[in-house]
């Protein structure tokens, strides 16, 4: 067995990227949360001191994760998944309400957010199911089962309410596509999103008119080319699109709450509001925008110091980077994230085990989704969706959730060369 041990090679690039992100993240949390009048560094009521503790504890976690057999994760994936689902459901009985969402268990001084751990569990379960030799990703029944695996935790998370965390489960469409899910599903998703945004910007009647015109155009063109035009097909698709547009409009106006509508309207440029709901995004843009090329310097950010950006040490931590480290610094962070995601995806492709490949791909997709939505939100490109920036945002559960997610893959990857 000694020979096998020698071939156990951890991917140091991922580990280095992880360490860089986690330390840069902490430096920014320090700047965002320290006060000049604050107490001693080792006072555990300081946010930055607590985060340092979580980071230290996460190293113990890493050692533990890496010490386990790779096979363990594959074998116990279903159990881990079930436990995770139970903890999510348990919130409805034992959970505590923090900031308006029942997403936490309070155990003594610590609080644990199970949805942060459910992502890794779901990725394991999905990898296990899809890698099963009997699963056929082109069969409707198996597609439905795979969909159920990733939808269940999302369905449990939405009513907490935490739609942001639930949204992340959309990321699993990428590993599924990678494993043979038909491209149509992706297209359908994108097309629905385009129709959705289009309806909100232009209104359902316009969308109906445009869809009808396009359908008529294709129909006429096909007729000229003497193809047999299928009136029924085009009419059905067009009607489906139009009814989708109207139902979006209906849902937006009658099912969404005003705060959701506000968030969308501000990002779509339909409303300008710098005081109410748009305040976060506006302040965040000001903070980032005032950074210039090189930023104002660490702990010198006036926006950051003045606490103008709400939740700056959690979801909006990237605005501190933008203000204090400037374009160069924030670009550096973007590049670190992109490198990490690409490294994970490239390693996933190299996995000999299908399970490890799917899991790795899921890790890449989840990290990417978090990064994409969070930075998009902080820079004012997307609506305000409350999800953290991996390894950066303050929070023990989040940090540990991402650490577990990433290091299970590091462990799987390390066994890649002897384990088939």
């Amino acid at each position: 067995m000694a020979g096998i041990k020698n071939t156990l090679k951890f991917d140091w690039i991922i580990i280095l990227l992880f360490l860089s992100l986690i330390s840069i993240g902490w430096v920014n949390i320090y700047s965002a949360s320290y006060t000049q009048s604050g107490g001693s560094f080792f006072d555990f009521s300081n946010i930055y001191t607590k985060q340092l503790l979580w980071i230290c504890l996460s190293f113990i976690l890493i050692v533990f994760i890496l010490a386990l057999e790779a096979k363990f994760y594959e074998r116990f994936s279903s159990i881990i998944y079930l436990v995770s689902l139970i903890t999510l459901l348990g919130l409805y009985v034992f959970g505590n309400n923090v900031n308006g969402a029942t997403s936490w268990y309070l155990i003594g001084p610590a609080s644990i957010q199970p949805s942060e751990f459910a992502k890794a569990a779901t990725a394991l379960a999905l990898a296990k199911y899809v890698s099963d030799i009997q699963t056929n990703m082109n069969g409707f029944k198996d597609q439905l089962k795979a969909f159920l695996i990733l939808a269940l935790p999302a369905i449990f998370i939405i009513p907490q309410p935490d739609p942001g965390s639930a949204l992340i489960y959309v990321a699993f469409i990428f590993p599924l596509y990678r494993e043979g899910l038909h491209f149509v599903y992706l297209l359908l998703g994108f097309f629905a999103a385009a129709l959705f945004v289009g309806t909100l910007v232009l209104g359902a009647p316009w969308i109906a008119l445009i869809v009808a015109l396009i359908a008529t155009g294709i129909f006429v063109r096909n007729k000229k080319q003497k193809q047999k035009p299928s009136v029924f097909k085009y009419a059905t698709i067009a009607l489906a699109c139009i009814s989708f547009a109207f139902s979006v409009s209906y849902i937006f106006n009658n099912v969404f709450e005003q705060r959701h509508r506000d968030r969308f309207n501000i990002v779509l440029g339909k409303e300008i509001d710098t005081k109410g709901i748009g305040y976060n995004t506006n302040q965040s843009e000001i903070a980032i925008g005032s950074g210039g090329w090189f930023g104002k310097g660490w702990t010198q950010g006036t926006q950051t110091k003045g606490n103008f950006v709400p939740e700056q040490h959690t979801d909006y931590i990237f605005s501190t980077v933008g203000e204090e480290w400037g374009f160069i610094g924030s670009l550096g962070v973007v590049i670190l994230f992109i490198f990490l995601i690409i490294r994970v995806l490239v390693l996933a492709e190299q996995q000999k085990s299908k399970f490890a490949r799917i899991y790795g791909y899921s890790v890449g997709a989840i990290l990417f989704f978090h990064f994409f939505i969070n930075v998009g939100m902080v820079t004012g490109l997307f609506p305000t969706v409350g999800i953290p920036l991996p390894f950066f945002s303050y929070g023990g559960s989040g940090l540990w959730g991402f650490t577990i997610l990433l290091f299970i893959f590091v462990r799987l990857d390390a066994s890649n060369y002897y384990y088939t």
Binding site: I286, S290, G306, L381
Partner: protein
């Protein structure tokens, strides 16, 4: 394909984010400003304005402390408006209006709500103001005038308003700016540099300490003092002489171009435009459209100069070599010209008369004759008149003089274009412009231009741009343009006979009763016809009384032009005032007390009321 889709999306995302960051951080620079507005409070420490001294070093303007009630609209809490208005002695409507103005300027920044409390008001308010959240008292320095004259020279200051700030972003609300006179002209010197303190704030607008430990904070720098060329005693005396009269005095030291006195009447106490009553007083002055006290007649009023202009006509005629000193010209009670024998009248005097006598007796015929020769020396009247104008331009006439006060008029010297436009087919001759010879017709001068050409005569052919500034604190020199000698186009040798003629005016001419013992004065009287549009119809009013003079004849110390509106003939008012001013300046005291008493007690108010009394009236009584 399946392997690369997500990778592709990741890379596109990286590009989009890079672009977005570039846009926010580099391309769009407005965010940096927004961030400062947001997080850093700027507190200004207003500097003291520089003092103003007269040419002998006596203090004209200094500063006094003043207290403004300031408001930060969004910090107001539980305000008892009625009680607060009572405390401030202000009506509720006015208070609410001011408050809404302040809100519009900025809900977060301080704006003045009651400017310039008196010391007593400050004393009673300073104990109570802290009870009203959102309000505080800011100390500032205001002008304190040591003299009650020279408002037209000194000008006034006021608080900047939004319009001024929009045009001049270096100013902040609550700051002071010079609006007229010296205060405006030397604003940059007098103003000083305001001190700045930057205070870091959090999003609840609470101060959380100095921004960057105060490295950007600066101390205020006091404005520089300036010394003016005016003589405060002369200035006060000039205004006193103009009691109940309208018009202006400009006195210049010929050798330096320094303005010794600049008086406009009616005048007002500069102290009226300081303090809480400022805006009411200003409104009163501003809307007096009949006496127009804010109109600086010495600089802005354009009058036909009348007879003093004859000295220039004579100088040009000699320079153009169209008349000799000895040539005598016969006057038969007037100058006859044109095909139908039109006549420009003259008064009784001995005839024929030479140049020096022409000046002394102010003979219209003499000057019309030589003027016609000047114009007709060239083959077209166009060339003739342009050449004539060229000579006058060299005396600083027909354009702004370039002195250091912010208002002025060009006056008017006609040229060929003036008449080409007036007469069809350019068909006009020297005689059409003949009134120019005697300073009527198309010629208009401002009193300072008249004083300036008198100084040029006194200097025998050159002049220095008139100016107000004598010295600036910490500056070795003043603007070089106030030291430059401007040469006239007239040969210096032609000035002596003119000066002799002007001397004769005092010796045995129109001003012989205004002689000053022991001082050789040269002068020239003038009477300018005066037309004014009243209620839509042009009416002739009593002539303006004009006088120019310089003294002593050799080595002149003062050149003066005096203008008295509706003062009738030159020696009647303007000549008397000029004579007294010269005596006051050269001797320091007045020996001719009966003359002084006559001028001080004389009033032209009745004359000024005539056109507005609604009854038919006679002029030149």
């Amino acid at each position: 394909m399946r392997k690369f889709l997500l990778l592709f999306i990741v890379l596109v995302t990286a590009l989009v984010f890079t672009g977005r960051l570039f846009y926010l951080q580099i391309y769009d620079t407005s965010f940096a400003k927004l961030s400062e507005n947001n997080a850093v409070k700027t507190v200004y420490d207003f500097p003291q304005r520089g003092y103003v001294f007269d040419r002998n070093g006596s203090l004209l303007v200094q500063n006094q402390p003043s207290y403004d009630v300031m408001v930060v609209p969004r910090e107001i809490k539980d305000l008892d408006t009625v009680a607060f208005c009572e405390l401030l002695h202000i009506s509720k409507e006015k208070f609410l209006k001011k408050l809404s103005n302040a809100k519009r300027y900025s809900p977060r920044l301080a704006s003045p709500i009651i400017p310039q409390l008196t010391k007593e008001e400050y004393a009673s308010l300073s104990e109570k103001i802290h009870k009203h959240r959102g309000f505080f008292i800011q100390k500032r320095s205001l002008r304190d005038y040591e003299v009650s004259h020279s408002a037209n020279v000194l000008g006034y200051i006021r608080e900047v308003d939004q319009n001024i700030i929009d045009r001049n972003p270096a100013y902040e609300l609550g700051e002071i700016i010079g609006m007229t006179g010296i205060e405006k002209q030397y604003e940059q010197i007098l103003r000083g540099t305001k001190g700045v303190k930057y205070i870091q704030k959090d999003r609840f607008n609470r101060d959380i300490g100095a921004y960057k430990e105060g490295v950007f904070d600066t101390l205020p720098k006091r404005g520089k003092d300036i010394t003016l060329t005016i003589d405060t005693a002369l200035q006060a005396y000039g205004e006193k002489l103009f009691t109940n009269k309208r018009g202006g005095i400009v006195a210049i030291e010929p050798s330096s171009g320094e303005i010794l006195s600049l008086v406009t009447a009616p005048f007002y106490d500069p102290g009226l435009l300081v303090g809480r009553e400022r805006s009411e007083n200003f409104t009163k002055l501003y809307y007096d459209t009949i006496a127009i006290p804010l109109f600086d007649r010495g600089l802005k009023a354009e009058y036909p100069p009348g007879s003093p202009f004859k000295t220039l006509t004579a100088l040009i005629a000699m320079q153009e070599n169209v008349v000799s000193l000895d040539e005598k010209i016969e006057c038969r009670g007037g100058y006859y010209y044109g095909k139908r024998g039109r006549k420009l009248g003259c008064h009784e005097h001995k005839s024929p008369i030479n140049l020096q006598g022409g000046i002394a007796k102010s003979c219209n015929t003499y000057f019309c004759t030589v003027y016609k020769r000047v114009i007709e020396k060239y083959n077209t009247p166009q060339k003739g008149i342009d050449n004539w104008k060229n000579h006058l331009t060299s005396f600083g006439l027909g354009n702004y003089l370039g002195y250091d006060l912010p208002v002025g008029s060009k006056g008017k010297i006609p040229n060929s274009k003036t008449y080409d436009a007036k007469y069809p087919n350019n068909n006009w001759y020297a005689t059409a412009t003949i009134s120019n010879a005697i300073g009527q017709g198309e010629v208009l001068l401002t009193p300072i231009q008249m004083a300036n050409f008198t100084a040029a005569i006194a200097n025998r052919g050159w002049w220095i741009r008139p100016h107000m500034i004598k010295n600036i604190q910490d500056h070795d020199t003043i603007n070089k343009k106030f030291e430059l000698k401007n040469k006239t186009t007239i040969d210096p040798k032609y000035f002596e006979p003119i000066i002799e003629g002007m001397h004769d005016v005092y010796r045995d001419g129109t001003a012989s009763f205004l002689k000053i013992p022991d001082i050789e004065i040269c002068g020239k009287t003038g009477t300018a016809e005066n037309f004014k549009k009243i209620d839509g119809s042009v009416k002739q009013l009593t002539d303006h009384s004009v006088f120019v003079a310089f003294a002593p004849k050799d080595n002149p110390k003062i050149a003066i032009a005096v203008f008295v509106e509706n003062g009738y003939w030159g020696a009647r008012w303007a000549g008397r005032i000029a004579s007294l001013m010269i005596e006051k300046y050269l001797k320091g005291e007045i020996t001719r007390t009966d003359l002084e008493a006559f001028v001080l007690n004389g009033s032209l108010e009745q004359e000024y009321n005539k056109p507005y009394a609604g009854k038919p009236f006679k002029i030149n009584q």
